[in-house]
């Protein structure tokens, strides 16, 4: 299973939730399969999905699911100690780990080699770290939302992409409708 299939499968579980979608293909896939006002699409700024998600979770009480990638987390590895030391039980970080920089041509990441992001997250002090396989993603995310505990999920899958259109929504529109969904 590749990332786009995981995202497609997650659409019903994420319906109505506040979702921060990682830059590039993950945002485009989420937009294609399950666009909703409560999705925040990152059009730039690789690495900050988890940081934006944490900020959102700190500022209000609704559940926030930040979808990240292994390459993006490696870009902003300092995020994991910050998350570990500022626990918010309405925050779920879902790292879809395909061992590659998917949006840029599937160049391998170190997470697909010797580096275990689950071990890194645990070493940073994160509790409730779950590594799962692609076919378990829906049930693991569902349980994490129901648990009301901050959870870090590393979902392993194989590398590969499908063609998806770019997002042409204006960033201010994305932000405006997202903030309305936060307030609703």
């Amino acid at each position: 299973m590749i990332r786009s299939e995981i995202i497609k499968n997650l659409v019903p579980v994420l319906s109505g939730q506040l979702v921060v979608c990682n830059i590039g293909l993950p945002s485009q896939e989420m937009h294609l399969f399950g666009d909703q006002p409560s999705n925040f699409y990152m059009l730039g700024t690789m690495g900050l999905s988890s940081s934006i998600g944490l900020g959102l979770a700190l500022a209000q009480d609704k559940t926030v699911v930040a979808i990240d990638g292994d390459g993006s987390v490696l870009t902003n590895l300092g995020t994991l100690p910050t998350i570990a030391n500022n626990v918010r039980d309405n925050f779920i970080l879902l790292i879809i780990d395909n061992g590659s920089y998917g949006s840029t041509g599937d160049q391998p990441t170190y997470a697909g080699k010797k580096t275990s992001l689950a071990a890194v997250a645990s070493a940073c002090g994160c509790e409730n770290v779950i590594e799962c396989q692609a076919d378990e993603a829906v049930s693991v995310v569902e349980k994490a939302i129901a648990s009301k505990k901050m959870t870090i999920i590393i979902c392993k899958c194989i590398s590969g992409n499908i063609p998806v259109p770019v997002i042409t929504l204006d960033p201010v529109v994305i932000r405006h409708r997202f903030m309305q969904a936060v307030e609703a």
């Binding site: 700024t45 940081s51 995020t79």
Partner: protein, 165 residues
Amino acid sequence: MLLDKIVIDAFEKNNIELVTTVPCKQLSGVIAELETRDSMTHIPANKEDEGMGICAGAFMGGKRSAIIMQNTAIGVTINTLVTLTQFYRLPLPMLISFRGELGEPVACQVEMAVHTKALLAQLGIPTYHFHNPDDVHELDEILKYTFMCNKPVAILTDASFWKGE
């Protein structure tokens, strides 16, 4: 110290509820003052772009946010300032220690100081420079301006400012 208190009072008065910081020696007093306030959540960040991401999320979650950092961070955060804070039109007060100005003991700090204002100008970021202690009384208006125009705004605070009280 009085200046630290006036700065954080202005944050509080403008309903800033979440502040991320990456420390600087020149900012230790203001960060310590921040820690004393129950009205504000302080989230130390490991890198300034991470802090700006947290601020963006907090603002969209309904809380006004701000970042406290050193001017060297302008070099770290240009992409984030442009593709997140500016692109999505998010307000972000940046209280910045302006290292490398008069009174600076560390030569290397001057290397970034000479680029700081040019970079901020290139990015179209409204920039204020606090050099005299009295300049602090503009902070309240600068914060109001930031949340009026939904832009990142830089408040550069140099050694003369912090020393002068």
